[in-house]
Amino acid sequence: MTQIFAYIPFKNGNAEDVALEYPAAAEKIDPSASLTAVVTGTGPDVDAVAEEMTKTYKEVIKISHADLAYPNAELVRKALTDALPHDAVILVPHDTFGMDLAPGLSVKMDAAYAADIVDFEGIDSNALKMIRQELGGAVYTHVTSDISTGAVITIRPGSFAPTEAGSAGGTVIDKSSEVKDLAAKRKFLEVVVAEVGDVDITKSDVLVSVGRGIEDEENIELAQELAEAMGAVVSCSRPIVDAKWLEKSRQVGTSGQTVKPKVYLAMGISGSFQHLGGVKGNPFIVAVNKNPKAPIFQVADVGIVEDILEFIPELTEAIKSQ
């Protein structure tokens, strides 16, 4: 029988959303598999999260250790390698922590590795079939992993329907004592909180968001003129901040701000999942992109295939003349 272990990340004593998404993922891997939640941390926080997880999971493994107060991937890897069976399937979110932990964990577990999985298609004689994307979401692929010696798999947060936290009536198994040496060559120092910019894009109902399609720093002005005509605010995707054309505080995405506008204009933005992960609250999305195959058109409400450098000025003029 397949054994599946789901790593539960949490902040301030609250499990992250992915905790409720694992059961649907596990069901698709193997409906007859056992599913166990794994919580690592220290003090009352880890106790509270483990207890909370018994509502959703029949079995919850808790590893409590003072050195696990901050989720240092190197230490968590050691704890999991000590406490979990090496032929199991271990699920981790594909986020900044999961990317830090999971590849090395697969090496130490001597297990197959599959990253950023968006769907599972079941197991056929030890080959687990999965779906993922490549090339920034431009194409989909099927991949298989030989799970006979275990697997470490990162799943994309938000890809599996969350279950209702129910009354599974699970039990907590304390495996803290199975963890051996937690010495690490990497030491956590502090979290530096993002600087607040001149404009708070999270407060705006209408965002004119620009991406790579803006092509040049001087073209940012086109977006600013449109935003002004609409009474909106300019935000952007990651490449614009990397190029230092706009401040980091204007970046929408998992590594930037999470916004909840009513209307979101995605101008020359391809629509990577990291970007869309920052757009919440189901806004009305308008996508303008010269590439008709841009992934953004799958999530937008309205799509327009045009070059934004020509389209934006015309739209601005039309709005001004209303």
């Binding site: 090395g104 590795y113 090339l135």
Partner: protein
């Protein structure tokens, strides 16, 4: 500081519209434009800047075919001192672990203080750096957006985490870091720069040179394999506005008014 940067030749997402081949199971690879993985340019730039400050040298390495030599030359035109191409038929079809095992063999033949990779490449897995570190028993940090040398044995490293926050860590050398875009501004490489390094010798090493068991890498050693490429049925997607630009704008303004955008 002796720095190794692992780079990859990839289809350029900015230059290509990806289509499936006629069989519908692979990309149509005719006419694809390739370039160096975007993240790798940031890693090479960071390595050059560190060496500019504290001395040492930068070596770029890739696992690939003959055509991958061009990305090594490009990075050498940026300022990397040496290039190494790891190439062998036995390497074809490697999964992330296969690639990491090949790189590990080369790393053990040298003496590097710091090994950099891009945070991810064309497949979007972000896996090789973390695997390599675990195989070497070196410390690792992913999504690095700041590096400060402390002394010969320790560096201070910032990682990009959710919400635009930065996680600071102290890491012992030797270590492996995966570099996030935005950490620096990679320098421009002109034709003249490429010409300068056009005739520099780039050694090519195969499985035998590296002492790698061919059965443990390549397709034979891969536990995770790509089966095919496909286009999923994603439902209808966006309502596409068509017609002349004027007509499109008229329709769009109506919709924006209805949804509170104007």
């Amino acid at each position: 500081m002796e720095i190794l940067v692992c780079v990859k030749r990839v289809p350029d997402t900015a230059e290509n519209e990806f289509e499936l081949n006629s069989a519908g199971n692979d990309l149509d690879r005719d006419d694809l434009v390739y370039s160096v993985n975007e993240w790798d340019n940031y890693a090479v730039e960071e390595a050059i800047q560190i060496v500019d400050n504290v001395g040492g040298s930068v070596t770029v390495v890739t696992v690939g075919d003959d055509e991958s030599e061009e990305v090594l030359r490009r990075e050498m035109a940026m300022g990397a001192n040496n290039g190494v191409l790891l190439s062998d038929e036995a390497f074809e079809g490697s999964d992330g672990k296969g690639i990491a095992a090949i790189l590990k063999a080369e790393i053990e033949k040298g003496k590097y203080d710091l090994i950099l990779t891009g945070a991810q490449a064309d497949e979007g897995a972000g896996q090789v750096g973390g695997m390599l570190a675990a195989m070497l028993d070196y410390p690792y940090a992913s999504l690095v957006n700041k590096i400060e040398a402390v002394d010969d044995a320790v560096i201070k490293v910032g990682r990009e985490i959710e919400g635009g926050n930065q996680e600071m860590n102290e890491i012992q050398l030797p270590s492996v870091l995966s570099i996030q875009t935005g950490i620096n501004e990679p320098r421009y490489v002109g034709i003249r720069g490429i010409r300068k390094v056009a005739s520099v010798d780039i050694p090519v090493k195969g499985a035998g040179d590296l002492g790698i068991d061919a059965a443990k890498v390549g397709d034979a050693g891969a536990k995770t394999k790509r089966v095919d490429y496909f286009v999923p049925d994603l439902g209808e997607g966006a309502e596409m506005l068509e017609g002349s630009t004027d007509e499109i704008i008229e329709k769009l303004i109506e919709k924006l008014k209805a949804k509170g955008g104007l």
